[in-house]
């Protein structure tokens, strides 16, 4: 059973029973700074400010704007999440995620996964 669930036209977010929070972007979404901040606001409201591992389902994401990338790599995000697993699938999503990891360089533990289960497993290591 999931808790703290939120859904919008562009993304949905919820906390799994094991404590991992999942952010799942809808297909063809071009991620802007506004969407990034919105999704982060929802995330922190679910976690109550407690550092929590986050799974981002970016398999269908179309694009991440530069300011949105920088926001996700900011100190504010690093204080709210304990680790981020980027679940990718298509070449496009892999390119986006790799670019984020290698160029934008997030400040908290971040890894790419093409298996959601593997990602969840890794994230559980960061549960308090």
């Amino acid at each position: 059973m999931n808790t703290g669930e939120f859904k919008s036209a562009t993304f949905e977010i919820f906390r799994k029973e094991d404590g991992v929070v999942v952010l799942r972007w809808k297909p063809k979404v071009e991620l802007t700074l506004a969407l990034a901040k919105e999704s982060f606001g929802v995330f922190t409201s679910i976690t109550g400010g407690k550092k929590t591992p986050l799974l981002v389902d970016a398999t269908t994401i179309q694009y991440i704007a530069r300011d949105a990338r920088e926001f996700f790599a900011s100190e504010a995000v690093s204080h709210a999440a304990s680790a981020v697993a980027l679940f990718v699938g298509s070449p496009l999503s892999k390119t986006l995620a790799n670019f984020f990891l290698s160029v934008t360089k997030p400040r908290l533990p971040t890894r790419l996964f093409d298996s959601e289960a593997a990602a969840i497993k890794w994230l559980k290591e960061f549960l308090a």
Partner: protein
């Protein structure tokens, strides 16, 4: 192959064009991916993101460059401004340093050319500076004095006194002036020192500067001036006292008053001195004491003129040390005779007194304690003796003139003028006291025949001897007058008629036995005839009473002479 694939998928051409634009620096170039989402779209998206990063980096770089340029410009402007300020500051500092150097040079020249002794000393008593004048006085160069202590340059006591004064400036932080004496090979020197604190910026006394001036000559001049002033004051007092003595002498009526004035004046002007005033006796063969003052008089009361060296020399004789000096005999004899009773004076002065070319006496002054003052006091003693001599001579002259004006020169008796004055005075006194005044008028019987027989010289001898006889046998208050020729008048104050008659009888009887000699030969005896009258019984005025006495005398002559007739 590539062109074939490009022709097959136009996105590749788009990528090639895009890369070409990036190569030209067009970082705003973007590509649009297709909906395929395949690898080429991923490349396109990746290239777009890369372009975004390049653009951001480029913009950031531009921004940084602009900011850097701005900062460089601002920094350059700051540096230029600082450089200008530094140049100005350096110029001002150079100017200040030059001013300070000139000032230092000026003060150094001033200090080095000053006659005053200038030094600077620190708290550890070490000299930091001493000018040439000061160093030269110590027979050192200024360099040799630096670092030395006062104790190394001056005797211990002097150095300690100097340091005590300097210490006061260190303690109080205020200037201090002090005068001191030091003994140098040239003698004692007076120094006037102005001690001035030299302060740090925080107001602490870092060192003390001393400016010392040799004021020995000034001090000596002051002392001389003070001595002169004292001497002038002393002389002024002496002159004042001399004038006072002159007034006293001028207003003295007789010798006793003169002597009292002399005694008083000498006791005032010669305190603690003793003295004696000697005058020649009538025969001028001895000098006799007429007045003396003080406790001890080591001179004879009477001595011969030749026993005084001042009289023999005719000028002042001074002995400052009686134990070694040659003494006058009138001093030597007295001190030798009485050496067990009192010591000889330490010194003495004999001042001959001259008046109208005649030596009239000598002034003797002795001191037991101040023989060194003899020379200083000699002018005063001489001046006083001259005044005294003049006063005494004037007094003698006055007495002589007075005597000549009221005395008969032959008999020494009062003359007729004095008799007339005396009658008026005595009658007035008798009226006040309700007394009587006896009048005896008498003359020598047959005096004309006596003159004719023995000559006028013999007659004068009779008159002289009669005058001496009368002065011998009558009271001091009785007034005996030669009235005219051989006629005499006796005025007897406070005498009754009976007393007057008895006195006349006594005189008549005594004269009968009087022996008179002329040129060694006895003359004949002579007798007197008397007329007696008493005021106020025989009249209220002199003329009436005299006339009554004259008439009684006439009757005595008529009745046979050698008798007394009462009016």
């Amino acid at each position: 192959m590539i062109s074939h694939r490009v022709a097959k998928d136009p996105r590749l051409q788009q990528i090639i064009d895009f890369l070409a634009r990036l190569a030209r620096g067009d970082f705003e170039a973007r590509m649009t991916p297709s909906d395929r989402g395949d690898g080429i779209d991923a490349i396109i998206v990746g290239q777009n993101m890369l372009a975004e990063e390049l653009q951001a980096s480029f913009e950031a770089l531009h921004g940084a460059r602009d900011e850097l340029e701005q900062r460089v410009m601002e920094r350059t402007a700051d540096l230029e401004k600082a450089n200008e300020e530094l140049k100005t500051e350096i110029a001002e500092r150079k100017q200040a340093e030059e001013t300070v150097r000139e000032s230092q040079e000026r003060y150094r020249t001033l200090a080095e050319s000053a006659q005053d002794h200038i030094f600077i000393i620190d708290r550890e008593r070490h000299l930091q500076y001493m000018n040439s004048s000061s160093a030269a006085s110590l027979r050192l160069s200024p360099k040799e004095t630096i670092g030395k202590t006062l104790a190394e340059l001056f005797p211990a006591q002097v150095a300690e006194r100097q340091w005590n004064a300097i210490q006061r400036v260190f303690d109080a932080g205020k200037p201090f002036a002090v005068q001191d004496t030091i003994v140098s090979p040239e003698g004692a020197r007076w120094l006037d020192a102005q001690l001035i604190p030299l302060l740090t910026k925080s107001g602490e006394v870092r060192s003390v500067m001393g400016i010392t001036r040799d004021i020995t000559e000034l001090k000596q001049a002051e002392e001389k001036l003070a001595a002169k002033v004292t001497e002038l004051e002393r002389r002024n007092n002496e002159i004042t006292s001399l004038n006072e003595m002159g007034d006293l002498l001028q207003t003295s009526l007789d010798a006793e008053e003169v002597y009292a004035a002399i005694k008083q004046s000498f006791q005032k002007l010669f305190p603690d001195w003793s003295g004696t005033l000697y005058m020649f006796n009538a025969s001028r063969n001895l000098l006799e004491t007429v007045t003396a003052w003080g406790e001890v008089a080591s001179s004879e009361d009477i001595f011969a003129p030749e026993e005084c060296r001042a009289l023999r020399r005719g000028r002042v004789y001074q002995v400052e040390d009686t134990s070694t000096g040659v003494l006058c005999q009138h001093v030597a004899r007295k001190t030798k005779a009485a050496e067990d009773d009192f010591p000889a004076p330490a010194g003495y002065l004999c001042v001959p007194m001259m008046a109208k070319s005649e030596t009239i006496g000598t002034l003797y002054l002795e001191t037991a304690r101040d023989p060194e003052q003899l020379s200083a006091k000699q002018p005063l003693a001489t001046a006083m003796s001259e005044q005294i001599a003049l006063a005494l001579a004037n007094l003698r002259l006055h007495e002589t003139l007075k005597r000549q004006s009221i005395r008969d020169p032959l008999t020494g008796l009062f003359n007729r003028r004095y008799m007339e004055e005396s009658l008026g005075r005595e009658f007035s006194r008798a009226v006040r006291k309700q007394h009587t005044v006896g009048i005896i008028m008498f003359d020598i019987d047959h005096f004309k025949n006596f003159n004719d027989t023995h000559g006028h010289d013999a007659g004068d001898a009779v008159l002289q001897d009669l005058g001496a006889f009368l002065q011998k046998h009558f009271r001091g208050e009785d007034i005996i007058c030669r009235y005219v020729g051989e006629e005499f008048v006796l005025i007897l104050p406070d005498a009754s008629l009976d007393d007057t008659r008895k006195r006349a009888e006594f005189l008549r009887e005594e004269v009968r036995h009087l022996d008179v000699y002329h040129r060694g030969k006895p003359l004949n005896k002579f007798t007197l005839s008397f007329g007696v009258a008493v005021f106020p019984d025989r009249g209220n005025d002199a003329e009436t009473v005299l006339r009554a006495a004259d008439q009684a005398l006439y009757r005595a002559k008529q009745e046979g002479r050698d008798r007394v007739v009462v009016a």
